[in-house]
């Protein structure tokens, strides 16, 4: 895993000052003045691993291990059923939501944690159609994350009354907003390319057309600045297990703008969304505010893990987070294009940082095998069909030297065609 160094002039898009060599020492210098450098110690990070996949599953914060052990032994073990009251389990969905709120420009009472991103999309899409009863179209992007489209398809098929999911390419979305569109559902940062929508402009366009705006923040929360409040977004969902580091399959969140909340009625009307669940009344009455978006009993171990993971964000400067994210992505692009030139890797993310989330993708026909060869060498990224190598950059625990060293390994893989082995071409269940 030796670093390759190199003493060429700084690439125009790298964070290294012009005229300075883009080498490992320059990266170490960036780390030395990184205002987020202390955060790394809060995570369990295996040695000799370059983890560029925090956008699929964030690593384990030490605080989560401690919290879950306490939930097991003290809250569940000793407290048993009493812990719904004494340990505050019953309020966890709202408390965890309140921790997420400042990361997405929301008020504490505009966010709650429940179920999965998929289920929360179903809830809010169904609610949106009820708010625009004279309209029949859910508009979304071709190539949006599949579960977003699948949940909309499931809803439309269930309703079976002329409803339609319409999808269009990124650049045609705004132009397609018309009086048929009840809700525009978009993923703010695309899982595939990392392309980021201009949230304020798109929300404004949706509103101008009379449509509701539903943002999927799976690849945004904890990664890029989001200000739902400033752009008056109506609805949003997002994921707990990516940049929020809540653990595998951590519960997801929902946002509803406060003034809309009393009118938003979702159809998955489970008992914990009821106004008075322990009255056990025969008819459903939606609870106040965001409570009505709860459904069944939440998985407390996973919910407590997410709660503990979110505690560290109170110390994080979100402007510094975005600055480091941009700098790492720029550095990665510059290094890959210099070190791996001639090996067929083509940038598949927007080149302009302002249009990009906290990930960088390159395309290559042998993308799957290259990602497996990288994983074999301790550089963890994702493959995304058909030909995408996806690398997530997570400023809380990655260092600039990690970026440098990871590219050195990528160069070795490309130069030696290390990916060209049958074991790297056999597809795993999860890619």
């Amino acid at each position: 895993m030796a670093a390759t160094g190199g003493a060429g002039a700084a690439h125009p898009t790298s964070p290294v000052a012009p005229g300075q060599a883009l080498d490992r020492a320059a990266c170490a210098a960036l780390d030395a003045r990184d205002p987020l450098a202390d955060q790394r110690a809060l995570f369990h990070l295996p040695e000799d691993l370059f983890y560029l996949d925090g956008n699929s599953l964030g690593p384990l914060p030490h605080a989560v291990g401690e919290r879950v052990r306490r939930v097991l032994s003290e809250e569940w073990g000793d407290g048993l059923i009493r812990s719904w009251n004494t340990a505050g389990w019953i309020d966890l969905p709202a408390r965890v939501g309140a921790r997420i709120a400042p990361l997405i420009g929301a008020a504490a009472d505009e966010v709650i944690v429940a179920d999965s991103t998929s289920l929360n999309l179903f809830k809010l899409l169904a609610a949106a159609l009820r708010l625009r009863p004279e309209r029949r179209v859910i508009l979304s992007q071709t190539g949006n994350f599949p579960t977003d489209l699948y949940m909309a398809q499931g809803l439309v098929a269930l309703l079976d009354a002329g409803y339609e999911l319409r999808t269009l390419p990124h650049d045609e979305i705004v132009g397609a907003l018309d009086e048929d569109v009840a809700v525009l559902m978009l993923t703010h940062v695309d899982y595939h390319s990392g392309r980021m929508y201009d949230m304020a402009a798109v929300t404004e366009a949706a509103h101008a057309a009379g449509a509701l705006m539903l943002w999927d923040l799976a690849h945004s929360a904890g990664a890029v600045p989001v200000d739902l409040g400033a752009c008056s977004a109506d609805l949003a969902v997002g994921c707990g297990y990516k940049y929020l580091n809540g653990g595998p399959g951590a519960p997801a969140f929902l946002f509803v703008r406060r003034d809309l909340q009393p009118r938003v009625e979702q159809p998955l009307t489970g008992w914990l969304g009821h106004a008075a669940p322990f009255e056990f009344t025969p008819d459903y009455v939606p609870g106040p505010g965001m409570i009505r978006h709860l459904c069944g009993t939440p998985p407390v171990l996973s919910l407590a893990a997410l709660d503990a993971a979110l505690a560290l964000w109170s110390e994080v400067d979100l402007a510094a987070l975005r600055a480091k994210s941009v700098a790492m992505c720029e550095l990665f692009i510059a290094l890959v294009e210099r070190e791996c030139a001639g090996h067929g890797l083509r940038l598949a993310s927007p080149r302009a940082a302002a249009e990009r989330g906290s990930q960088v993708c390159f395309a290559h026909p042998e993308g799957y095998a290259i990602v497996q060869a990288l994983i074999d060498r301790g550089v963890i990224g994702d493959f995304r069909t058909p030909d995408i190598l996806r690398f997530g950059f997570t400023p809380l625990y990655l260092r600039y030297v990690d970026v440098f060293d990871a590219v050195a390994i990528l160069r070795e893989v490309m130069e030696t065609r290390a990916w060209d082995e049958p074991r790297f071409k056999a597809r795993a269940a999860v890619t």
Copy 2:
């Protein structure tokens, strides 16, 4: 907490032999020959606690603590995203379902674990209506557990095409099965009274009327014999955190009879229910068998906890489990009626063991305060509105002497009117 003893003749419904004194020594003798006695050591049980609430939240099995610690440190901490393949996270929903199958008379490939009981009810009710397109009624029981009714109400309101949830009292259900009923949804053991349906007879009646049969096994799985296969039940759901001891808010399960599986299409079509989730195709295609009932990414910590909790059932003789459950319930009824006579406690569960699950309820106008005074003395039961004291009997870790001692405390509470304090009358968030 001194035992009150007593040397009267055995109550006719107690497990103590006729002519033998119904005293603590007789209970200790029952414990001494209990074939399930070894199971108690597998659980974390706080001292000086009589936990008669395993039907709300089962206690912590030691194996769960060990498993969750390993998932945290090794699978999430060290394995990170790789654990979806290397630790088999992706197959956990089916593997955990296969562990539940023998407890409910199902084949391994007829059960899967996903989401919550509420959400699974929604999936299967919607699927059932599609299978009986000419019928418009969901039939259920007045006073069924609220979330069952609420989810049906949410579905019916969403469909808005003449669908109807019809509820009737327990004794009028079978007679109300007609050609309008698409699906009969019943909770096998009533959460409130403990009354148990004759599963075979009711399922047969539903089928004779051309309706599908959906059983909620929340208070059955791990508590009473269930043989879905023998009675050709169509659909079922159940809970992981009661008698299965999977932890607070543990994921729930679904059952679909194998021959129905290819025709059962549920509307919450998330990506992990897709036939090929990692192909990221634009259109939803339901996965084979029970896979299509998955939706979003499952909460792995909570799912692994349930998996570990279920491992102990492979050593449990289910006939012995039921025999001990019946014996404990009979003992409890006999003791309460003898020790607490004259204090206004009225048996609110069926007196016949064959019509009762693994719980016993008494009604009392001061039920709430009595339950709080009991909890204050280490006897944990539930209050259920309006006047029900509910006690669950869980043969894996309760002893006959625990039943005896708990009743002694109940007698003390009733004789001294210990419940008559303001602190016992203030309602908590969760009751």
